[in-house]
Symmetry: D2
Subunit: 158 residues, 4 copies
């Protein structure tokens, strides 16, 4: 899984394409990729010490407010897909994750994606995390990726 | 839509098969049928004067505890599917719905199904509805279908 | 449904949020919106005389190659959602659709989205439609929306 | 994972509940269980030497024609779920799988299920496998579980 190997601040989550995720074109339906991104960021958080389930129970939710994805090649039933995820931005009102998806054994990506998340309090209101809050403290210790110019262009080209 | 016409106590909900609901066999994936059953019972309730959304906000939830389905013919992308739904049983601890699915213009059913639901209180505990409760009063006024021997056999044959 | 009313080149598709489409935040999961966009463009095509099912059987497929979506407000179980769709770009190698989603009775949008599609031949290869082809002839007769500066900015701001 | 440990002819597939699989009750939606059963039988086949993807490319498909499931306890976001699967019946026209689902670390099952599958040829027709066919040869070498009387009653009680 050389092509998706972890670089600093990244984590790779692997999964198998389910039959239920395919469509009548014989490939994974484009909406199936979104739960894969979701799993990848949950595993990214866990890898760096944060349980999203715990965060939620502690009153912080991070819904997707923006999503961009480029589909570059099809994924098929039973393919192993590697999702490389990293946190590209973090402020007291939002975080941004970027993703590159690979089919096992291939170096050309299947897809590139980006999600932006805001913070909701238990009442469902978007909030700015207080500088001294436990949640901000937690998030601040997560690694930000070092976006190379090429990566930045990749995102900008969306 | 003669084949799915409403008989006493039944209500028919119609929908289009979405591309996202198909799979690599070129037909609707078998799991896609479950949200159709769900929509059909929500619309059945609405047709007979009960909003499931309101029920839930009033503290009653009716999760599926048993489900049986026979798939008889495939549904394809863009097909119009009619789901005929009726309530076949109702006690203070559970209700049972039965469903027959038809493709528009065809008299042979696509599928036959049955779901059993219990009642949960807001804390997530299964409850027996009190005889004098508002919820039981509401449910008691919903029509039960008059299962003909043929129907009964159909269900028993599952 | 004033807020989503059809303007020239647009078509509005309406749907009910299914329970299966909600998530543990109590709102429609962000991935649920993608099949709604899909239904909206299938209905847009049908409204303007083209059946996507027929297109596919005639050998043309139009998979999503890019998708952007801004989530602005949550949709909840049983909400009626209106999806206003229009074709914003059309070349011999791709088409682009834009979407605005509204909750019934509200003028502030739930979400704004954009999808880009390429053309695949039956063998799954991306193709440039021949100028004299039946498919290009068909697509050329579909209305392009007249993007106002405001709309264009909206999209650009993604 | 004692409670789901493999007995002869069984195989256990484990997965994490995805956020996308939850619903507004805060638990995994009942339809989410079906792709889990599907993954479990694909992994069961792989464990015993058969790739369902290869089977399909060789012209054999095994769609679900009957499905029964009892939901016994809720699964929640981020839970690890173990699905124990076995083949309970095999004839030249159908196979039957049974499943028991467990939450990690718990001995009481989450759900019990059963699926029946027929065989389709590439043209989509239900077929009886020829005694000398390669597919029948392949299926005959898969282990059948030894249903104890208790298991048999469990299934009958559905």
């Amino acid at each position: 899984m050389q092509q998706a190997e972890a670089r600093t601040g990244y984590h790779v989550t692997s999964l198998r394409v389910r039959y239920a995720e395919t469509d009548a074109m014989g490939v994974a339906h484009h909406a199936s990729f979104l739960p894969w991104l979701e799993s990848a960021r949950v595993e990214w958080l866990r890898h760096f010490g944060v349980s999203y389930a715990d965060l939620e129970q502690a009153g912080l939710r991070m819904p997707v407010v923006e999503l961009r994805i480029h589909y570059l090649a099809p994924a098929r039933f039973d393919d192993i897909v590697h999702v490389r995820c990293g946190m590209a931005e973090r402020t007291r009102t939002r975080v941004r994750f970027i993703y590159t998806l690979f089919r096992d054994g291939q170096s050309a990506p299947l897809a590139e994606a980006e999600t932006v998340h805001c913070f909701l309090d238990p009442g469902g209101r978007a909030v700015r995390l207080a500088r001294e809050s436990r949640h901000w403290h937690l998030l601040q210790h997560l690694p930000l990726i070092d976006q190379a110019p090429g990566d930045a262009e990749g995102i900008a080209a969306y």
